[in-house]
Point group: C2
Chain length 337, copies 2
DNA sequence: AATATATGCTTAATCGTTTAACCATTTTGG
DNA sequence: CCAAAATGGTTAAACGATTAAGCATATATT
């Protein structure tokens, strides 16, 4: 492994101190009054030797690594994959590198990722927080390490965050279904105290009330780890119950997909037996025999904003920026178009 | 930002040199003959102060970062997302962190990612190489930096790699279709000189020949950047041509999805008008009205093996390990079950 | 008793950059 | 002509950990 070229190599070749070389290569030649001849020589030699600064050394000295840690629930999940991609590109534009970790909605894993990233001296975090993991995030806030929460937030903590207008999203979903004549509308949600989920539930409930359908409210809350089992049960029960729903709203992408499998297994006809609204885009929504109406999230904006806000904070901004982005309801056949 | 605890802080508190502290915390107390009392004190104080080594400093000194760079075509693509997830988990088990970049099948981006990662002194690379980017990879090989190629490889370069039995995959796909009575089988591929694609094409062609169907060979090669436009055209042409196919094999996941959209638009009935075989699993395959028979890749094994081989190389192994993993053909309705 | 060996710890260099502080000339202004 | 200012550079410490080499002192060996 032929050793990399260092500042010293250039300094030796040109016959000056490493300080001068550093100044020149950092564009401080004016400020530091380096002679024009020397500047030229240094540039030349640096080019010839194909010098590339060692970021590790630089990081150690400067105390910042130009790295941001991104923690999502699962990078294999396309929603987070897309988000990660945006974050990667956006961070790259500002010369930051991203290290990514998957928490599996698990506090122990989250904590371990945060620790690993801290050991590597990341300059800041973008985190999709999991339920009950307030402590982990709080410790970052206490250490005054820049953090931006994304997709969800923790109301007990004062941090920056970028989230969807979750309340509005399910509210509009219900409104749309009501307008299409559906009345027995059920909501499939996760059993979670996280605000984004509670807001989706609240948006649904409020909309039902505002449409005088409070007696028809039916919410199935499933456990994150047992979705597959519980959704089968849930769908069956919904159909055996005395007020069988004529429409269902799924409150996440994964739930939508699991729900579609269940509907398919039970041979339920959409939208005749039941109208369906999904969450997030997904190719599967398009190929379901009755393409799904769904709540679209502005993933790109979400990713870009979170990077922007984080970098602001890394640059010293102390204010917490809390942004709610708007959803879009995409109308298709599964709700009668 | 309350400063992190350093070795020096512990040393001061205990009243010894940083060297001793370092020895103890690295478990060298026997070898370096540190007194049992002192060992105890150091451990205590380190625990009390909640000391965590600064990996940046350690990396600078040791010349290795315990970081691996993963370059995929696009992390937002679920195939690569899943792969990344496996790599992340597997690397984590061995105390390595992963930084991920998306090349978009573009050599300039690939080169820039490689450079960025090198500047950050990654210990090795796992790369999904793009077409024509031999130089970029070769420079790594020349510098003797550990590299493992995955999903594809470059035959001109002697590197380790983990790939699918691409030839066998499409060969079996054809064989299956022939067994089901299909004869006019077309292949939808990328216009690419990369071996994995050429092997898929070769597997198809050989199987066609071996079944005495060489006159029915029809290969549509699409450009990576213009798939959407060309696939519409391609599907139309295939149907207007004089030997209209009765079956199609898609040679990547993305092509399969695009193909499904086209088939849907053209209202082609599967498998009556046309049988279909997709590549890679995908939820969309399940919800297509005629669930797709597809070639399944062992993503997990691919990810695990690439990490294993890379770490071996980082540890000093000089031999190139070249592994071909087996596909599985999952039979479903789109080919008549 | 004199030397050899163990024991327990410190010193200081090193990794590659950055950057404050300083030094030596030369030029300028009044 | 002399002090002040400008010019062009060097030195060395610092970031935090690792690690080879060295230095006392105590114990063992013959």
């Amino acid at each position: 492994m032929s050793k990399r070229v260092s500042l010293k190599d250039i300094a030796n070749k040109v016959g000056v101190s490493t300080a001068l070389v550093s100044y020149v290569l950092n564009g401080l030649e004016k400020e530091k009054r380096v002679g024009p001849e020397v500047v030229k020589r240094i540039r030349e030699v640096a080019g010839d030797l194909n010098y590339k600064p060692n970021q590790i050394a630089r990081s150690l000295r400067k105390g910042s690594t130009n790295t941001i840690g991104l923690i999502v629930a699962d990078i294999a999940n396309p929603f987070f994959g897309q988000l990660a991609r945006i974050v990667e590109d956006e961070a790259g534009k500002h010369n930051y590198t991203v290290i990514i970790g998957s928490s599996d909605e698990n506090c122990v894993k989250s904590a371990s990722l945060i620790e690993t990233f801290l050991d590597r001296q990341v300059d800041g975090f973008i985190i999709v927080p999991s339920e009950g993991c307030n402590q982990e995030i709080e410790s970052l806030v206490n250490k005054e390490i820049p953090v931006v929460l994304v997709d969800r937030f923790l109301p007990e903590l004062s941090t920056s965050y970028i989230v969807l207008d979750n309340f509005g999203a399910t509210y509009e979903a219900v409104t749309h279904l009501v307008a299409k004549g559906y009345k027995n509308i059920a909501l499939i949600a996760y059993k979670s105290s996280l605000v984004h989920m509670q807001e989706r539930i609240r948006g649904y409930s409020e909309a039902m009330k505002d449409n005088h359908l409070e007696q028809a409210i039916q919410i199935k809350e499933l456990s994150y780890n047992r979705v597959k089992e519980e959704i089968e049960e849930g769908v069956s029960k919904l159909f055996d119950g005395n007020n069988k729903p004529d429409a269902m709203i799924f409150s996440t992408n994964a739930l939508s997909i699991s729900g579609l499998y269940a509907l398919k297994n039970h041979k339920i006809r959409v939208p005749d037996d039941m109208a369906i609204i999904g969450f997030d885009g997904n190719e599967a929504f398009d190929f379901f025999y009755s393409p799904l109406t769904f709540i679209e999230q502005p993933i790109e904006e979400m990713g870009k904003e979170s990077v922007r806000v984080l970098l602001d904070q890394i640059k010293g901004s102390k204010e917490n920026v809390q942004i709610e982005l708007n959803h879009r309801l995409i109308l298709r056949e599964s709700t009668g178009g």
